[in-house]
Symmetry: D2
Subunit: 337 residues, 4 copies
């Protein structure tokens, strides 16, 4: 790390910072300029908070040189990580699509959705059984019954399953049914949950919080990775900005940024990212054009009657047409589907 002293910092102030750094185990290099003195410290940077130095007398600013995450860093595995889930590989040039309804509602709905997404080329079936809802009066999901329905439908159509886990207490119940455990945007910094997921042997789809920086997303991945679970898939799903014409603003530039900083696969969820069916299609196409390793898309056999998020769910025929376009775009950017 570097500590830049203010112009006119006194010798006592400079020495104070040096002493503190040395006390914390750093080796310090001092470089005295015409205006500013700069202190470079080599040491156990993960245990310190820059702000602690920035409020010291005479300090102008501090900079960290090393990224605060390690296991999530691309440096660790420059070639990128491929996550194998049964017969599906995630993180290869092949773009993988996870699709299905927002909520698991009835056996007929689940079956129709699974059949439709499998037919159009999705490999993984998504659906929610535990639903995080802003209002306590909204539909909260079918729980374990929903998971069972989902597994059966997925098996009939040779699909894997992905579903959201909201609390560490739910993990156990999900394992028999769900191949990939999804952590939703609201729980991206639920560290108790992340730590638990670090101890199981099941891929985790970690969604970016709506106000999380990319660095915070990678730090949350680090929680899972540092527990021993190496199978983390990241996902952009829209951030909160001042613009209200869409529910969230999809930050598609996060895709190339994450691919550069980390070795983990990076997905995009245009359904939650836009909140409107007619915007899902262009943004799904844009995400693949921007280099996403896969997509998460809501598809419902009858969106007008969905119990949640119907407005952002594609109809099966729309999804089918979208998959056709995505195959062409994947090819244009040197990938396949």
């Amino acid at each position: 790390m570097f500590v830049v002293m203010q112009a006119g910092a006194t010798e006592a102030q400079i020495q104070g910072v040096i002493d503190r750094l040395v006390e914390l185990g750093f080796t310090v290099h001092r470089s005295t300029g015409v205006v500013h003195t700069v202190l470079g410290g080599i040491g156990p940077v993960e245990n310190i908070e820059l702000a602690d130095f920035e409020v010291m007398d005479g300090v102008k600013e501090c900079h960290r040189i090393m990224s605060p995450y390690k296991l999530a860093s691309r440096q660790l595995r420059p070639g990128g990580t491929v996550i194998k889930v049964r017969d599906v590989e995630i993180g290869t040039p092949k773009v993988v699509v996870m699709a299905g309804p927002c909520s698991i509602e009835t056996p007929a709905q689940v079956e129709a959705a699974a059949a439709a997404v499998a037919r159009s080329g999705a490999r993984i079936f998504r659906g929610g059984a535990f639903k995080p809802r802003s209002s306590p009066y909204s539909f909260q999901g079918l729980g374990e019954d929903g998971l069972k329905m989902m597994r059966e439908a997925a098996d009939r159509h040779n699909l894997l399953t992905v579903s959201e886990v909201m609390d560490q207490a739910q993990i156990e119940a999900m394992l028999p049914y769900i191949d990939i455990l999804q952590v939703g945007a609201r729980n991206m910094q639920n560290y108790t949950l992340l730590k638990e997921l670090g101890h199981i042997d099941r891929p985790v789809l970690l969604k970016r919080g709506i106000s999380a920086t990319i660095e915070e997303l990678l730090l949350s991945a680090e929680y899972v990775l540092s527990g021993g679970n190496e199978k983390v898939i990241l996902c952009e799903r829209g951030i909160r900005t001042f613009e209200s014409a869409t529910r969230n603003t999809m930050d598609l530039s996060a895709i190339p940024v994450v691919k550069q900083l980390s070795h983990l696969p990076m997905f995009a969820d245009p359904s939650h990212g836009t909140g409107r069916r007619d915007k899902v299609i262009p943004m799904a196409r844009a995400a693949v054009a921007a280099g996403a390793d896969g997509l998460l898309i809501e598809v419902h056999p009858d969106p007008d009657r969905a119990l949640s998020d119907g407005a952002q769910s594609l109809r099966p025929n729309q999804f089918d047409e979208l998959m056709r376009q995505l195959r062409m775009i994947a090819q244009a950017v040197g990938r396949e589907m």
Copy 2:
């Protein structure tokens, strides 16, 4: 709710919306204008999502008339709620200060902090035993040992205690030691936790998430209230914006807005709101001037050696001087301390 049809919407499209509203249990009033047809629906609005209507053919936009929260609404208790915790009342003209260190570290630190804040006029002792940290490599808190230390120090100085609960599994362990359970910004939408807190008889201090709207804050309060726990205290602690000169941007206008929309007491946390000791003091003063019912302030006997958030912790003498100024400001705005 109101549905505004697009200019040129067909009779079939209008009828489609009416049919859907009636099917959901609404009574519909139609008003035909020169350009737009507007449909007003009276019915079970808490179960519907506006977006579901906004994507219907021919629809221009929808508006909800009723607030999506009820129990948190000021209408329910226009005079405001007073929460009595042992001998302290929260929500009266008396401004209440909760103060103490970010993390509970050692018995000596806890004792020094409790003595200092009590001496300067704080009534409630804050301290963290379970710490949510962005990095898995940061100090994670002392757990139950910390809670015990905290209780003992608080009792010696006739203070109540407030501490953060991060997961429903921790609630049980906290009850013997902690008078007010704090839900941190990262967990504001951890609905599993909120529901559990709705079932206990202990005040909850609910902090606004860094990207949560005021409406979402009140909806999260509604989760606790609807479970039967009526003792919820809200707290502004800074929102995330593009400005990086401070860690967060304190949204002090949230104070008068919440006081108008809700009957619940509204606090402010200038320590997390700014992240820098020298900004805590002006913003604490500003929060009281803006009408806050209380403050949450980090005070540490030796901030330079704090294990977490030292940069934003006041020294005891700074806290003492701040309390002196706050008393004058409280008076200027018709309150006391």
Copy 3:
């Protein structure tokens, strides 16, 4: 417009709002519900401010039904607008690319840039002669000399020209050289400039401000359109958010949103939208995949030595490869290049 009265609004308060609306020329319909009274007003809505009603006693909230812009609205021309500039048509299924250096620097640089972008298929040559810079100490542009160089190079390669106008006083000087006048993000609400541009017969490329909503962008277009100039091209170039990994966050969902709300052509500028060369390529691809009518891309023969924005300028060979990929993506989404 609609005015929703608070629960418990008195008859006098309701009458007060009705009187005010009638005084302003509105016809008012009153609808009395169990909880809320709602007043619908038909009248000269463009002259009123909703906030004026929202602060009236007893009022809960107000909603505007008509868009505040008219000439920019898609309703006016549902088929979309095609802008013909010499032999180039903008707004057709053909995606149009404007490319060139950030600043006009030397005759050799301009010639090399124009030759390169023409060779790869761009139709319009971009370059800045008047530069808006955050710091007064940065390079401010060559002025009219730069415009002349630009025109000559463009003519040699059969390209049109586009360049930024920063002030009404510069318009006259630009007309002999520049085919399309660009209004930069910082001037999107420079109304003096917009009004002047409404009175000339030259297409205007209007960039979205970094904190402008889509509605505000369309209102700024309305300034030009209402002056009589019907040739306005809109452009997304990134909005300001909390994320600092990229200079701005490109809001690609603005592309389908604008196409739905307005008949005007919608471009994207991934160079300013990302600020980094390696992010320009994926975001340019994504913009076309999302439905952009055209792109604005910075290309410099020697970006490492550019006087401004070199970091976001593509090298000619990168631009050439990008154009190849874009042609495939355009085809995938039913367009051509």
Copy 4:
């Protein structure tokens, strides 16, 4: 500046950066660590763009050590700047209030407003004659006639005047009537205007743009200062965030931040900052509590009939009561009014 090379950067890449820095006139110090090589450059940092280095091969990140502004920096005048305008001093412990209507409308309205604000203790009369409006269909101001009315009313009540200049062409017309020229938020980066204002001898009130960082605000001040005009007053008036309960989010922490970084006086405008009369009062109090050197407040004799921004204008009796409270708060924080 510092350039941090990536782990594993090659010697050729490191040399490439050194060569480029030397070519630009920098002296370079190289420091080789276990993981990262860091290059420190001393030289003409105001002419370079960090991004140009950040995209060079092998570079991880760059940091600037010197602030990009100089004349606005507190270092230049650690004691702070006092601006004397006729008999009013701005920047002293005395808090100065500028008040008056949003728009100048009629002689009677101007007279009533001036009389009211003078009576309650304001020293400077504000009012708009040239109005920047989002919609071309809104009231655009009375122009020079308005300025004249304003001057006469101000003189009758021994007030100074402040009014917004929107374009360099208006400066000349304003000088005979207006003591302080205000640059509105939308024009904070209208560099043509700022440069012109640098050449006149008249104080400038520079408002922060709704999406401008504090650094950008200071850079815009630098434009005026570097032209030779040393009389710049800064003003916070709300930034754009995701929260829609208020028109903007007042960033009151900007007040202590600016006071620390710059020697210029810092004001706050709670009228534009909140957009709602009932929020103006608490936020005005909060701004003084946070350390503002002055306030800008809209007061209208009959806000319900104002031609612009009536919803955020205080009634004269509200303003009078506010001034009474502000005097007490000023005292609490060691100032006077």
